[in-house]
């Protein structure tokens, strides 16, 4: 049984969004065999032959030579003979003439031989930054040798995204500064498991070199500050549970861990509220979901550290972020937790100023 299908503009590389129809090698009404080149498609990088996956007939052209067509849009209609899919005996790069009679698996969107440029070349630091900013490397253009994506490229992409999505960042900014109006209580919470193996190793190393080791509270406070404080200049206000009340302190992403530790020690018991109220429990309790105290925007519950049996992690702890859906949306809470987890899992970032 034959059927008419669209021949679509193929995606020839991860970064390709559109292609130019360079040359038609088949005319409407013309029969072709499997493996015949139907059309040549060009991108900035390459010219690619698009082969027929099976024998058939070209019905109608939907684009002319020179047309620029987005990936996935039809450029022609063709009718493919309904042959049983048979694996090709040789890779697509071998000469076609000898095997023109061999039927090939049908596909509406022919896939040319894999483009070796598909592998994204990016530096480890750029990959990390992209991951932290939830950016896809495939969407970023690299400026380094061989198109390598570097830190500067990710930062530029981040910049472009924030200018392109003014509304999103504005919402985030508003959420940061909006007054805590806990009139309607529509509380929700999100949780994340954090691999604290690296944090424990760092703590052990630092303990050997310092008179007073850093407490877990200090690392958590630092992670909150760095996760929430995108703008280093604006202080983040934290409260740490101390027998029912909250000792409050402020910090910016530019503060050192030592400074945060010192401020924790001197934290005052005022009742003004702030960004995140933190409750830390020890022992075997895995998760604690605190209620949001009056005057506070969010509350973070930190469970005990437990031995882990998954993957490379030796120890884990669970963070639960409670928020009021009236002024903090779910995706913001999830992103915030994600950033905190990333910071705690690679604690070098907690030390970097």
């Amino acid at each position: 049984m034959d059927h008419v299908a669209d021949l679509l503009m193929p995606k020839l590389g991860l970064t390709m969004t559109e292609g130019t129809v360079a040359r038609w090698l088949a005319a409407p009404g013309q029969r072709f065999a499997a493996g015949d080149i139907i059309v040549v498609v060009e991108t900035d990088k390459i010219a690619n032959d698009v082969e027929a996956p099976a024998a058939g007939e070209l019905m109608r052209l939907l684009s002319a030579e020179g047309d620029v067509v987005p990936v996935g849009q039809p450029i022609a209609q063709w009718k493919l003979d309904d042959a049983a899919p048979v694996a090709r005996p040789a890779p697509a790069s071998t000469p076609r003439a000898e095997e023109s009679a061999v039927p090939r698996p049908r596909s509406d969107m022919p896939k040319p031989s894999p483009d070796p440029t598909d592998r994204i070349i990016a530096t480890p630091y750029a990959r990390r930054l992209a991951r932290e900013a939830s950016l896809e490397l495939a969407d970023i253009t690299g400026s380094g040798p061989r198109g390598r994506i570097k830190c500067a490229d990710v930062l530029r992409a981040k910049e472009e995204r924030s200018s392109g999505r003014q509304i999103a960042t504005t919402v985030t900014a508003v959420q940061r500064v909006a007054p805590a109006t806990a009139s309607t209580t529509a509380h929700s919470f999100a949780t994340v498991d954090v691999d604290v193996s690296a944090l424990r190793a760092l703590g052990a190393r630092l303990a050997a070199t310092r008179d007073r080791p850093f407490e877990r509270r200090a690392y958590i406070a630092m992670a909150c500050i760095k996760a929430l404080g995108d703008d280093a200049a604006a202080p983040v206000r934290l409260g740490l549970s101390n027998g029912g009340a909250f000792a409050t302190m402020e910090g910016t992403a530019r503060d050192t861990l030592s400074a945060i530790t010192a401020r924790l020690a001197q934290a005052s018991m005022d009742t003004a509220g702030g960004d995140i109220a933190i409750v830390v429990v020890d022992g075997r309790a895995r998760q604690v979901v605190p209620t949001i105290p009056t005057g506070w925007r969010m509350a973070l519950g930190v469970g005990g550290v437990r031995a882990s049996r998954t993957g490379d992690a030796t120890h884990e702890m669970t963070l639960a972020l409670a928020y009021d859906t009236a002024d903090v949306d779910h995706s913001f809470a999830a992103q915030l937790l994600d950033r905190m987890a990333a910071l705690l899992e690679e604690p070098l970032h907690l030390l970097a100023v």
């Binding site: 530096t123 480890p124 630091y125 750029a126 990959r127 990390r128 380094g144 040798p145 570097k150 830190c151 690679e346 070098l348 030390l351 970097a352």
Partner: protein, 324 residues
């Protein structure tokens, strides 16, 4: 604060240590009456006497072997091998005896000995008198290796090496002996294993040691003219080396160049590059680049040697490569 030469700072450290501890003895080829091939032990014979400052025959194996025995039996010997190239002859005493004693005798023997090894080229001394062989020694568990670059560190690291309970190799670049610099008062002290940030920067880190510190700073000056701010880390100690200082710098700059005068292949830079590719992987925003000598013996001809030794321009090239 006084201006002294690098060699004089070592001389001062030797003299201060000898005055403070009568168990310290010095021996080696031409170290007594002639005052050392580079003048580093000048005046010590007159001040401390022939019992404590001795000339030896030309036998590096005997010099270091005697130092091991002396250290085992209660003295604190400081010996000099005229050129690091000839440490080859004393490797058994160093590698199989000195480095192992603490571990093989249940910790009963500490070997407080110092071996001073002048290394490096640039003085037109040919392939057997110019080598930088420190990587051999850093590979041996039980040996510590320091390599000062400044007058202040020359004094401080010599004192630290003498004070250390274990065998310490002091690698001294011959081209530095005549360099003048400030010797601060009170006299400086430095712990073995701590690096020095010779120049802060944000765009790339150059890790170096010894005479290449000067080249790295010159390279940083050249790069600064183009707006590239390079951080220069002087390791000062090669074994143990200050991994956390290098990692912290990499976390600031995200790009790493390691420069040394020694042959690049299998050198000290290879170890630093390997560790940073491991513990610093997520910090890297460019390839780790090494700048070292080519895989060739040091040439004798002045023009050839000048091309052979890494210099500021080669370091600049390396930094540009990781910034690309």
């Amino acid at each position: 604060m006084s201006e002294v030469r690098f060699g004089q700072a070592i001389n001062r450290a030797l003299a201060d240590a000898m005055a403070a501890d009568e168990n310290i003895v010095i021996f080696g080829e031409d170290v007594a009456a002639p005052g050392g091939p580079f003048g580093v032990t000048r005046g010590l014979l007159d001040r401390f006497g022939a019992e404590r400052v001795r000339d030896t025959p030309i036998s590096e194996a005997a010099i270091v072997g005697a130092a091991v025995g002396a250290a085992m039996s209660g003295l604190k010997p400081i010996v000099e091998i005229m050129f690091m190239d000839f440490v080859t002859l004393s490797m058994d005493a160093l590698v199989n005896q000195a480095a192992k004693a603490r571990f093989m005798f249940g910790g009963q023997y500490a070997l407080p000995m110092v071996v001073r090894l002048p290394h490096g080229g640039g003085i037109n001394a040919g392939p057997q008198h110019s080598q930088c062989l420190e990587a051999w020694l850093t590979h041996v568990p039980g040996l510590k290796v320091a390599c000062p670059a400044t007058v202040s560190d020359a004094y401080a690291l010599t004192r630290a090496a003498i004070a250390d309970p274990d065998p310490v190799i002091l690698v001294e670049n011959k081209s530095l002996y005549a360099v003048k610099g400030a010797l601060p008062e009170p006299l400086p002290s430095v712990a073995i294993g701590t690096a020095d940030i010779a120049r802060p920067g944000r765009d790339a880190t150059i890790v170096t040691y010894g005479a290449m510190r000067g080249m790295a700073l010159a390279a940083a000056d050249m790069l600064a003219k183009d707006g590239v701010e390079t951080e220069v880390i002087d390791l000062r100690s090669l074994q143990p080396w200050d991994e956390s200082a290098v990692l912290a710098s990499l976390a600031r700059t995200h790009r790493l160049v390691i420069a040394h005068e020694a042959v690049e292949a299998f050198g000290v830079g290879a170890e630093i590059a390997a560790r940073m590719a491991d513990v610093g992987f997520d910090e890297l925003d460019g390839p780790i680049v090494r700048v070292g000598a080519p895989f060739m013996p040091v040439p004798f001809a002045k023009e050839l040697e000048a091309r052979y030794r890494p210099d500021a321009a080669r370091i600049v090239e390396g930094v540009r490569r990781t910034l690309a």
